[in-house]
C-alpha cells in the first residue's frame, strides 16, 4: 500500500502506512523516522513514530504542507529498510507474583495455567517495542502469547506502583511512574524506565526487543537498595546485541 500523507493541523503531517499492527509496517515507520532525523531538514521540528504512522511537526512559517510533504517524500524515496540499525536488546529484571504482582493468580487462573507456567511464558517471549507513548517512557510491546491475553480490571486502580509489569488485553508493559491503571499487575522491575536528566530518557526505543528476566525478591531488594534503578549501566550493557 502507498503511504498516505495527511495534515494534522497547520504544522503537522502524518504519514500513514498500512492500517495494521505488524513489525514490517512498524519498521517502515522507524526507517522514515531515522531517515528524517538524519536529514536535518530546516523547519522540521520533530518526528513521532507510532505503530503504523509517523508524525512530523514542522514550522509553517518555514514551509507549506506541500513543501513538507515533498521533503518527507524525498527522504522516504532513499530509504532502505534493510539498512536499519539492528535493534538493541533490553532486559527488564522482574520479580513476579506476591506483593509485587497481585494479579498473577488471576492471570494464571484465566489462562488455565499454573503461576510458574505464566512466568515462564511471559519471560520466555521476546517482545518488540512498537512505540513509546501514553506516558513518559511507556513502551508499547507486541508479542504477548495469546494464552496470556487477559481482560483489564473492571475499574482501574487509582495507583499502580512505579515499575509494575502488567498485562492489559493483548498487551504487556511496564509502568514508568506511579499512575492510575487498569492492567493486571503480575510483577515489578527496579529498572528506571524514565529519567528526564538523561538526553535519551528511556532505556527502550522503538524497534528494540525486550525480554523480562525473572529475579528473586532478594535480588529485587538488593538492586533497589544499591540504587541500581538508574538505567545507565543497563543501557550501556544492552547497547550491544547479545548472541544467545
Amino acid at each position: 500500500m502507498v503511504p498516505r500523507y495527511v495534515p494534522a493541523g497547520e504544522r503537522g503531517l502524518v504519514v500513514e502506512f498500512e492500517n495494521a499492527v505488524s513489525i514490517e509496517i512498524n519498521d517502515q515507520v522507524r526507517a522514515l523516522a531515522i531517515g528524517l532525523e538524519a536529514a536535518h531538514i530546516p523547519g522540521l521540528i520533530e518526528v513521532v513514530p507510532t505503530y503504523r504512522s509517523l508524525a512530523v511537526e514542522y514550522d509553517p512559517t518555514a514551509m507549506s504542507f506541500e513543501e513538507a510533504e515533498r521533503r518527507v517524500r524525498e527522504v522516504a524515496a532513499t530509504l532502505d529498510p534493510a539498512a536499519l540499525p539492528p535493534p538493541k536488546r533490553v532486559e527488564i529484571p522482574t520479580v513476579y507474583g506476591g506483593a509485587y504482582g497481585p494479579d498473577l493468580p488471576f492471570v494464571a487462573q484465566h489462562a488455565g495455567l499454573g503461576e510458574a507456567e505464566v512466568i515462564r511464558l511471559h519471560s520466555g517471549t521476546v517482545y518488540h517495542v512498537y512505540m513509546i507513548g501514553f506516558s513518559a517512557g511507556f513502551a508499547y510491546l507486541g508479542g504477548l502469547p495469546e494464552r496470556l491475553h487477559t481482560p483489564r480490571l473492571p475499574s482501574p486502580r487509582i495507583k499502580v506502583p512505579k515499575g509494575s509489569v502488567a498485562i492489559g488485553g493483548s498487551q504487556t508493559g511496564a509502568y514508568p511512574a506511579e499512575t492510575p491503571g487498569g492492567w493486571r499487575i503480575i510483577g515489578r522491575t527496579y529498572l528506571n524506565l524514565f529519567d528526564p536528566a538523561k538526553e535519551i530518557p528511556t532505556p527502550m526505543q522503538p524497534g528494540d526487543t525486550v525480554q523480562f528476566v525473572p529475579i528473586t525478591e532478594d535480588e529485587y531488594l538488593a538492586a533497589s537498595r544499591e540504587g541500581r534503578a538508574g538505567s545507565r549501566e543497563l543501557r550501556a550493557e544492552n547497547r550491544e546485541p547479545r548472541d544467545d
Binding site: P7, R11, G12, T50, T202
Partner: protein, 443 residues
Amino acid sequence: MIDVNRQDSRLSAHGSQVSIEVLRPGLLTTVQDRGRFGYQKFGVPVSGAVDEIALRVANMLVGNPQGAAALEATVLGPQLRFLTDTVVALTGAVVEADLDGKPVPWYESFRVRPRQVLHIRKCPRGLRAYLAIAGGIDVPVLLGSRSTCLIASFGGFRGRALAAGDVLAVGPPSAPLPELTGREAPSPWRPRHESRVTVRVILGPQDDAFAEEGIRTFLESGYRVTPNSDRMGYRLDGPVIRHQGSPDIISDWIPLGGVQVPGDGKPIILLADRQTTGGYTKIATVIRPDLSLVAQLRPGDTLAFQAVSVVEAQAIACKIEADLLALPDHLVTAESWTYAAELGEVPGGISLALQGDLPQATPTVMESPGRATVRCPMPAVVVRVLIDAGDMVAVGQPLFLLQAMKMEFEVAAPRAGCLVEVNVREGDAVGADDVMASLDTTA
C-alpha cells in the same frame, strides 16, 4: 533546530539577581515556557504555557526572549514577595491584582521593589494569567525546557505546582530596569475573553471515521466546556457526533489542539499536557493561534468550530508570527502607571497586615444593608460544606470546598456574620454566581 525556550543563564559572577518568595501559591501556579520539543518520541508530554501567545507577549513586555520561563496562574493567582528589584508583566486572563494593595496594570510592564508583595487575586475573565519577570524564571533545563510536566513530576520548580514557602530564582534582565518599565502592548494584543468563541479547525486526520452527519453536527453545534477539563484537555458537552464504524484507531500521535471523539460522541480538545499518543479518532485539529482562545475558556463557556483549509491556517499562523516578531517595535511606553517607580523604596511587611488574611476565592457579594450573599466564583462541584446554617463565621473563614477543572479550592466568608442560609449540599453542582449561602452581617 532553534531553541524556542532560549533564556540567558544566571550571571555566574553575581549569582542569581532576583528571587521571589511564594507566600500563597494560588490554585494551580506552574513554571512554563513554550514547551518541551523533540521528546514526544519518548512519550514525553510537550507541556508549556496553554496560552502560548500570552506567555510570549508577557516575556516581550519585560524584555525577555519570547520563550523564557514565566508563571502560569489559574483562576486564583499566587501571592508573591519580591526580594529584590525587578520588572514584571501580567498577560492572559484579566486579573485583579495589586502590588502592596495598589492595583497593577495588565499587558504593561511595571517595576517591583524589594519586599513588595504582588497578589494576583483572581481572574474575573479568562482562566490563565501569565506573570513574566525580567530575566525569566531560573529553573534547571530538563530535556530542552523549563516547563513543569505535572503528570511525570519533573521540570519547572521541582516537577510540581508552586507551594507556599518556595523561593524562585530569576535570571539576569536584558536591559537596565528603567528601560523595561512601563512598556505596554497595543490594544489588539489584549484579549476580550468572551464566554462564547468560535475557533478554527482543520478537519482530520481521522475525519473519514465520521458520518457526514457527524461532521455537520461538529461544525454546526455549540459545545460547552465541562468542569472535567484541565491542562491536558477540555472535555466538551453538546450534541453527539456520530461515527461511521469504530471510534477507535491503532494508537497514534496526538497533535496539540487535536479534537478526539471517543465512542460517546463528545469531543475533547487536547492541550499542552496531553499524552503524546492515543487511540481515539480525531475529527479535527484546532489551529495553534486559536488555542489561546480555548486556553482562556472557563467551565460553562461555549465554543463552536469553523473549518478552514491548511493553506488558510498557515496564512493565519504566518501573520501572527510576523506580528509577534514586530511587537517589540510597537510596545508603547506608558506614562499612566508610575506608582512603583515614584514610590521608591517601600517598607516591607505592611501589606499583609493591612490586607488581612484574604480568602483563596473571594466570592461575589451582593449586599443589601446587613445582608451578604456568598456566590460561586465558577461552575464547580461542592466537595465539602464546612459550616452549618446558624453558625457565626469570621471574615475569611472557609465555608465550602469546591472542585472545578480537577482543582480544589475554598470559598471563604466575605464578611463576618451569622449564616442565615446554606443553599448547597455536598455533591451539588453549582453554577457561576449561584448563591451558596447568605450572611446576616449585623449579627
